[in-house]
Symmetry: C2
Subunit: 182 residues, 2 copies
């Protein structure tokens, strides 16, 4: 079955600092029409940063949409036209004060394809070296830095201190690596 939905009309609802919201009127595969509510997002990177002591660098951060703090792997939005690998190095440095000698793209995924076009690129960073203590945060960004073992991270998934897609993916990625090594 052909699945494409053709755009009949686009109505821009909101243009913010970060997201843009629009409602598209679409023609469905059966010829009928419907509407789609869409959030446009610049995309992001997230970094699984492993210290030489096999600790995962995490940031604790207040997330206004959730009205609570959660613990996440370092991440940040892409600047316009920015290369994701460059963004990953920049965000790692800004949020954690770590530079890295090795950076590898693991995967990319759309976080919520039903309503948003946000694409997140997940990197693995190794060969970390300290530059400075998270001195480069945006002026509206406040984080607590942590370095945890895989076992500690697994515990944080269980008690929902780790509670978001990219970080739960990251923990599972490391569990898989450990299982395959055995």
């Amino acid at each position: 079955m052909k699945l494409e939905e053709k755009t009949i009309k686009t109505e821009k609802i909101f243009e913010g600092r970060i997201i843009t919201v629009q409602v598209d009127e679409v023609e469905l595969p059966n010829g009928k029409t419907s509407t789609r509510e869409l959030v446009k997002h610049p995309g992001a990177v997230a970094i699984i940063a492993m210290t030489d002591e096999e600790r995962i660098v995490m940031v604790e951060q207040y997330r206004k949409p959730l009205e609570k703090e959660i613990v996440e792997i370092p991440a940040g939005k892409l600047e316009k036209g920015e290369d994701p690998a460059v963004c990953a190095k920049r965000e790692l440095e800004e949020e954690t004060g770590y530079g890295c000698n090795n950076l590898e793209l693991l995967t990319s995924f759309y976080t919520s394809p039903g309503f948003a076009d946000e694409l997140v690129h997940i990197y693995l960073a190794k060969g970390l070296y300290k530059i400075e203590e998270g001195a480069g945060l945006d002026e509206d960004e406040f984080v607590n830095l942590m370095e945890v073992t895989l076992e500690e991270a697994e515990e944080m998934v269980k008690n929902q201190r780790i509670f978001d897609a990219k970080t739960i993916y990251a923990v599972q990625y490391l569990q898989l690596g450990k299982a395959l090594k055995k």
Copy 2:
């Protein structure tokens, strides 16, 4: 460091069929103010449905925000006040025509905590039995059903036909299960 951001003012921007958009003015931990663009979403479920022949049930679907078709595990939005497990059984039945004898909650995660409150609950469904061929889809929902092996799913991650957080999590979950069994 205290990280909480207190709401000074909330401005509702858009109330759609599915999402609500608002801009909050917040007081930052350092006393300064900033704005947060927030998307409210009812939450969702997604189902890793395994047939007795060890095939994963997938749906191919056009995703308007991406302007392309991708292959995903079955998923759907929570109705107001709906129990996620009830929703998972309903969505599995509606999208794939499968009922299930065993349903287990694997994890829950926020898809994009920086701007959205969407929480997705991931279930594992086994003991599948055929009810009918996806007859219960919403009237604006069109999908192609597929049943794939884990190896086929891994290939689809590589060539980006599988391209979203919950489905990439699902594939990695099954890889981890296989690695641990060895």
